[in-house]
């Protein structure tokens, strides 16, 4: 559905993306991740044929997004990051305008407008002016607009930004249900969301692809995260001082409650120090009631891949 070949975009003095190549197959929900300024929005803007690349090619449904732009755009529903809307139009009117711009008319237009209003929960506000809508509703209007012509491909740039937890859950469910019929490329910073919705994740950093795999495989690549949780009574020992002496421990944070020390130990990712900690506890005659290594999440992968020390 999407094919990107050696895509490069340079702005004066800045390389936004460099030599990006990836493919998205029909029916996939792909999460497009990366820190701010990594080039996510730039890539999406090129795919939606809003800005041309400096170098390289991109195809949507087999159509070059620049040479065959109009055909490519017909297959695409795009929700830009800032969700720009015309404040002077009413919701219903806006959806009908955009539908007709995308080639719908007559009965079909009415049916599609009704369908997307239903899907995005806009029925009760269809006669309101867009300027008077809350952020959550604006987001939904944007999403409804992207969906109105039943595009094969949806490109959503941070669809849940600025929404409250209930709305985020709603949008997440919506995206999941849309994934049955549409191919979706979405960018977001809420990684838990990606873990439950996306079948594949592409992580970019400084304009280059760092990883592209299923969330499970990515998490599997980092076996363990860098945090060990210990709860123990340590007698007269200061747990922070003792634990920090173990090789591989980066830092220890401890607090005390009813004589029990709860310690969070940060260690190198991919290293398991639980046995060392247990041995130490036995030697020192500590009583332990918890010793766990936290399960790695996509967040750990993300941090690992895109962390910079500067």
């Amino acid at each position: 559905m999407i094919k990107v070949e050696q895509l490069t975009k340079r702005y004066p003095g800045v390389v936004a993306i460099q030599d990006l190549s990836f493919e998205v197959d029909k029916g996939e929900i792909v999460g497009f991740l990366g820190p701010n300024g990594a080039g996510k929005s730039t890539t999406m803007r090129i795919l939606s044929s809003f800005v041309p690349p400096t170098f390289g090619r991109a195809y949507i449904a087999g159509h070059d997004v620049f040479r065959d732009s109009l055909k490519a755009r017909r297959h695409l529903g795009y929700l830009p990051e800032s969700v720009p809307l015309y404040g002077d139009m009413r919701v219903n009117e806006y959806l009908r305008y955009r539908g007709s711009l995308k080639g719908l008319s007559g009965k079909k237009l009415q049916n599609r407008a009704d369908a997307v209003k239903e899907l995005c929960g806009l029925k009760e506000i269809e006669h309101k002016l867009i300027a008077s809508l809350s952020k959550g509703y604006r987001q939904r209007v944007g999403l409804a607009e992207a969906l109105i012509h039943e595009p094969d491909l949806l490109i959503l740039d941070e669809p849940t930004i600025g929404l409250d937890p209930n709305q985020i859950r709603h949008v997440r469910e919506l995206i999941k249900s849309l994934g049955k019929r549409h191919t979706i490329l979405l960018s977001t910073h809420i990684l838990s969301e990606v873990e439950v919705t996306c079948s594949r994740v592409i992580i970019i950093h400084r304009g280059k692809i760092e990883a592209s795999d299923t969330p499970e495989n990515l998490v599997g690549r980092i076996r363990t995260s860098g945090t060990i949780r210990v709860e123990a009574t340590t007698g007269s020992d200061d747990p922070v001082e003792v634990l920090e002496r173990i090789d591989g421990v980066k830092s220890v944070v401890a607090n005390q409650e009813d004589g029990w020390h709860r310690c969070l130990i940060r260690v190198e990712a991919n290293s398991d120090l639980r046995e060392d900690i247990f041995r130490l506890a036995v030697e020192r005659r500590w009583k332990i009631r918890e010793l766990t290594q936290e399960r790695a999440t996509l967040e750990d992968v993300f941090v690992e891949l895109t962390h910079t020390d500067n």
Binding site: P80, S82, Y97, L101
Partner: protein, 251 residues
């Protein structure tokens, strides 16, 4: 074609949704009314060789309202899309760039033309009430409106160009006003230079809107303006199209 119509409908609705349209319409009615009243009052005072149409289209009221209207009706067209960011949703829908430019130009033209309708009715009603000779021949009534159409094309295109250059409506209005008034005053070079340079005279004669209106309101239709103004409008729209494309790709 259907897309162009959809875009045009949207652009026209922008005018009639905003209060600016009604303020402009209101001021225009007042200025045109004053101009008309002024023309009749002048002719009442003493016998004159001029018709009402002639006096109306050569009064200061007319020229002020004519020149000021272009920045107001065009300042929003492109600048607002860039400012709101709606340019991104607009241009990622399956529409061609030239369709967007054309629809914005056509909408502004239609609004501009609708502003002159009331004055046309003044003349028709005035003539119908029995003062046919004060109105002049049919050509004397229609000719100024034909000229307004083509001069409007030129100035609206100037306004579109100004609006495409910036994301700020006020800046767009300023640029547009500067260009419109600038071209208008070219006429005056004719009077100032006073035939010292025939080439300059000939060149400025093309954009001499004052002179054109003077002859058209007498019923003298000069076909050159029908070539010059529309082709200049086309050229300006082409530049607008280029700037529009350049700015959107630079985002």
């Amino acid at each position: 074609m259907k897309r162009l119509f959809t875009l045009l409908q949207r652009e026209l609705s922008v005018f009639y949704y905003s209060p600016i349209a009604y303020i402009v319409l209101f001021l225009f009615l007042i200025l045109n009314g004053l101009s008309f009243w002024f023309a009749i009052a002048l002719l009442n005072r003493a016998p004159s060789e001029n018709t009402v149409v002639q006096v109306f289209f050569n009064s200061a009221f007319f020229w002020i309202s004519y020149l000021l209207v272009f920045p107001v009706i065009t300042m929003r067209s492109f600048a607002e899309e860039f400012k709101l960011g709606t340019i991104e949703t607009l241009m990622t829908a399956p529409v061609r760039d030239w369709e967007v430019v054309a629809s914005k130009f056509m909408a502004a033209m239609l609004f501009y033309l609708s502003l002159w309708l009331p004055s046309l009715f003044y003349f028709l009603i005035f003539g119908w009430l029995g003062n046919r000779s004060a109105i002049g021949s049919a050509a004397q009534v229609w000719a100024p409106y034909l000229l307004l159409l083509v001069m409007g094309m030129f100035n609206v295109a100037l306004g579109c160009l100004a609006s495409a250059m910036t994301s700020d409506q006020i800046v767009a209005a300023m640029i547009s006003l500067m260009l419109t008034i600038g071209f208008f005053f070219v006429t005056l070079i004719n009077y100032v230079v006073n035939s010292s340079s025939p080439i300059l005279r000939e060149m400025t004669a093309y954009v001499a809107q004052l002179d054109h209106m003077d002859s058209f309101s007498r019923g003298v239709v000069d076909s050159r303006v029908f070539v010059f103004y529309p082709s200049m409008a086309f050229l300006l729209l082409f530049i607008t199209y280029q700037i529009f494309q350049y700015r959107r790709w630079k985002v």
